[in-house]
Symmetry: C2
Subunit: 140 residues, 2 copies
């Protein structure tokens, strides 16, 4: 009965994909979580964003971003320093180690996505997206 509720299918699919993706990263011997990688990636592309804005890009809240950034710093993938212009803010810079890690993981993520979408046409994916956006809009 629960199986017929589309939201269960949604939950299950996203959990399955996350586990699949994380497993492939672990198997490659890289010590990072998907979420950490996502945040690191956003910082690389947009180093001036604040925690709130980073969060908006990856659908996480500010507190989660703060903690993930802390871990990235601990792992020496990221360096932070107080901004000179606005001392509430923080300047961030990916370390060489961080750059290497992004390079190492990117193809794995790309492969994950491709494998997960095997057999789905562009059109099907677009329909999927539209359906999800509709649900998303209904919940606002």
């Amino acid at each position: 009965m629960l199986n017929r509720v589309i939201f269960y299918t949604l939950e299950r699919t996203i959990k399955r994909y996350r586990q699949f993706a994380q497993n492939n990263i672990d198997r490659a011997g890289v010590d990072i979580t998907i979420d950490q990688w996502l945040v690191l990636n956003v910082i690389q592309e947009s180093p001036t964003l604040g925690q709130q804005e980073i969060g908006e890009r990856v659908f996480k809240d500010q507190a989660s971003i703060a903690r993930i950034i802390n871990l990235l710093v601990k792992k020496e993938l990221l360096i932070q320093s107080a901004s000179q212009q606005d001392r509430r803010r923080v300047d961030r810079q990916i370390t060489p180690k961080g750059e290497q890690l992004i390079e190492a993981v990117s193809p794995i993520i790309a492969q994950n996505r491709q494998t997960a979408l095997d057999g789905l046409s562009e059109e099907t994916i677009e329909q999927l997206r539209q359906a999800l956006l509709l649900i998303d809009g209904n919940c606002q």
Copy 2:
């Protein structure tokens, strides 16, 4: 750019729905989380299941179920006692307070689902399900 990745849309949609659903429960003045309600519901329908089996029904692992059950007991929605037949197992019974809560929340959940799916035809939902199941299968 991230917006074009279907898995972001998936993440965002499921998070939005969860927040929407939880808000409506909170607004009704009921002190329970969606996850706790789901587990309570499964126990009501199938009181003899073990933690592992409960987890399979709601896509959670055994450790999560153990902790959620603990909270349900603390909230006096559930009573546990050692099973006589197999003393590793636990007999569970929903309390009257738990029954009342399930009754109170069920229509809210139903309404949530209906609202979230507003404007999606049966056919669209079925296509959505099929696409998700494909992805799910690809990740196994």
